[in-house]
């Protein structure tokens, strides 16, 4: 397990790895809420994801860089 997790921790950080371990170790069958969460994540297209990243970085949607990215990801 750790061999698989080490590259993930190195690439994406500890919080994500922790969440994945929690999921793997829980052993409980996925609930409808779990599927809804997965589906909600999978329904995010590139534009939605770019908007989320722009917001996370504290950039304004009218910022030239932000507008360039939005145009490119479409």
């Amino acid at each position: 397990m750790w061999a698989a997790l080490i590259p993930i921790i190195a690439t994406y950080g500890l919080p994500l790895a922790e969440k994945l371990v929690e999921k793997w170790m829980s052993g409980t069958p996925p609930t409808p809420a779990d599927f809804a969460e997965l589906r909600a994540l999978a329904n995010q297209n590139s534009t939605a994801q770019a908007n989320a990243v722009i917001a996370q970085l504290g950039l304004s949607p009218t910022d030239p860089k932000a507008q360039q990215i939005i145009a490119l990801v479409k």
Binding site: A3, K23, W24, L38, A42, A52, V53, Q56, L72
Partner: protein, 156 residues
């Protein structure tokens, strides 16, 4: 008596550690000794990364073999989704910060959208209780996308 599943998990573990060590060693050797071949290393490194990533899928499935198939598949799909979204977010943040070029953004975004569409289908199939494994094509799609992102980030 060691169970077969434990034996396979250990085997995957050793293989994954060896591949990770090989990647680190190749990076060091080429960067230190043969800088001209760094580009060539990237190709090798990506191949190793792809294998490690595929092993992750097998491990996730193997570790959860005492659970039912739906749970195992869900955990694999969830891990793939989280890793891929995190990589794409990181790439966009790098582009916005000027640390990666914009040239590959349309191609990577197209690949991301394809992956997401395939993930919705896979989640629907899993929830329907078909006891299907995580589609290998989806795992490969995710690995390809991560490779594209790694190359695009390194090209600056």
């Amino acid at each position: 008596m060691i169970e077969t599943s434990t034996l396979f998990t250990c085997l995957f573990l050793v293989l994954a550690i060896l591949l990770a060590c090989k990647s680190v060693l190749v990076v060091w050797l080429l960067k230190e000794r043969v800088p001209d071949l760094v580009r060539k290393w990237r190709i090798r490194h990506h191949r190793s990364f792809l294998i490690v990533f595929l092993l992750l899928g097998f491990l996730a499935t193997g570790m959860t073999c005492n659970q039912n198939q739906q749970t195992a598949t869900f955990n694999t799909l969830y891990s793939l989704e989280k890793s891929t979204v995190a990589a794409y977010d990181g790439y966009l943040a790098a582009v916005l910060a000027g640390q990666a070029r914009t040239n590959e953004v349309p191609k990577i975004s197209h690949a991301f959208n394809d992956f997401q569409a395939a993930m919705v289908l896979a989640a629907d199939t899993d929830q329907a209780g078909t006891n299907a494994l995580a589609p290998p094509a989806l795992v490969a799609q995710s690995a390809d996308l991560l490779n594209l992102i790694t190359v695009a980030k390194g090209a600056k």
